[in-house]
């Protein structure tokens, strides 16, 4: 056999073998990248931009760890506990999140919980009655919430106070007020809140980071880059073998 022909055949065999091996190695990657890419394209329709992931092994990849809450707000035997991403009333997570909660006050059948920008009214079961923003309130930024003038009182930084029993109508209040302040949580409530206040991440963000490799840290994107190089090698070797086969058939 012509040594040139022998070498070419040998290269062809080796290339074919490696083409198959690379194909198997890259196949799973390709399935993952294609699948996650399709899902990400429709994340809004699938609700992934609104859902969250709280699995500990995932949140730990982001350096997020559950913190044990030590203090909360108590009003009429109801407990309000929260962090920046979740608020819990009586051991039940609320749909309305109040990061930086300022206090909890009871008035009649209603519970008033406030942070600087929102005053949320709940019933005793934790159902949101109404969420009031600064445009619905007589003051722009709430600084304190408490009881006074036989009603719920909110005050701003300048200590301008307004009182309401139902959250609908507000009147200036000059009386002294008892302000809501945080107190130490009982152990049972602490344990319940710890589970509920686990760190959460948007599902879309986690999927996007898994798709790009960022979820694996600094070297994750390089892993995905490597997969990309594999795809290129497979495409080139496949193309080369196709052309070689084609030219053989064309020129026997």
């Amino acid at each position: 056999m012509n040594p040139d022909k022998h070498t070419r055949r040998r290269i062809g065999v080796v290339l074919h073998r490696w083409h198959r091996r690379l194909g198997v190695a890259a196949g799973l990657f390709l399935l993952w990248l294609a699948g996650s890419g399709i899902v990400l394209n429709h994340s809004a329709q699938l609700g992934l931009d609104r859902s969250t992931v709280s699995a500990q092994w995932i949140t730990q990849l982001y350096g997020l760890h559950a913190a044990i809450p030590e203090r909360g707000f108590l009003a009429a035997r109801h407990w309000l506990v929260g962090n920046e991403v979740q608020t819990v009333l009586d051991g039940r997570p609320l749909e309305t999140v109040l990061p930086g909660a300022l206090g909890l006050v009871a008035s009649g059948d209603l519970l008033f919980a406030a942070n600087a920008s929102t005053l949320a009214l709940f019933d005793a079961q934790g159902r949101l009655v109404e969420s009031l923003r600064d445009t619905d309130l007589p003051i722009a930024a709430i600084r304190r919430i408490g009881q006074g003038c036989d009603a719920v009182v909110i005050a701003n930084e300048q200590d301008h106070r307004f009182a309401s029993r139902d959250g609908l109508t507000w009147a200036p209040c000059a009386d002294a007020a008892v302000w809501s302040t945080s107190v130490a949580l009982p152990v049972a409530m602490q344990m319940r809140a710890t589970t509920l206040l686990r760190p959460r991440l948007p599902t879309e963000r986690v999927l996007l980071d898994a798709h790009s490799g960022h979820i694996l840290g600094r070297y994750g994107p390089f892993l995905v880059d490597t997969a990309g190089v594999l795809f290129i090698l497979i495409a080139l070797s496949g193309l080369w073998m196709f052309l070689r086969h084609h030219s053989r058939r064309g020129h026997p």
């Binding site: 309305t96 609908l168 963000r205």
Partner: protein
Amino acid sequence: MLAALLTCCAASADSVYQSRDDFLREVFGAPPPPQVLWVDSSVQGALKAALGHPYGQARVRYWRKDGKTAWILDELGKEYPITAAFVLGKGAIDSARVLVYRETRGMEVRYPSFLRQYSGARLQNGRLDRPIDGISGATLSVQAMDRMARAALVLDGHAP
């Protein structure tokens, strides 16, 4: 990565086009006191059909004067709620207005040329009785406006 995540989620910039009080003054002159509609199971059922999801609050405030009612609603566009106001009379929408827009894209829904399409709209078999032309690049905001328009008509129909 966490920093990028926090940056992404804190990127909302509220564009307030009109305050609630200015809107109410424009509609009613001297605004009437707010009234409340409690969202019982029948209202919730109708709202769920109009919005495509349950209404998140147990009560809705509204304003009524001279045969007109005004409703201010929040509905999620893509990532942030759009605050829109609807004035209704005789079972139809008189006018619609975007008060606060928080998304980064799609604020064209605030233009009068778009909002005029809602004037005169009624509910017919749970849908608006007329097609609302979309806006390229603002599809989710337009859909949110449609949902709020339907919800306002439902609420007006249940208001005492």
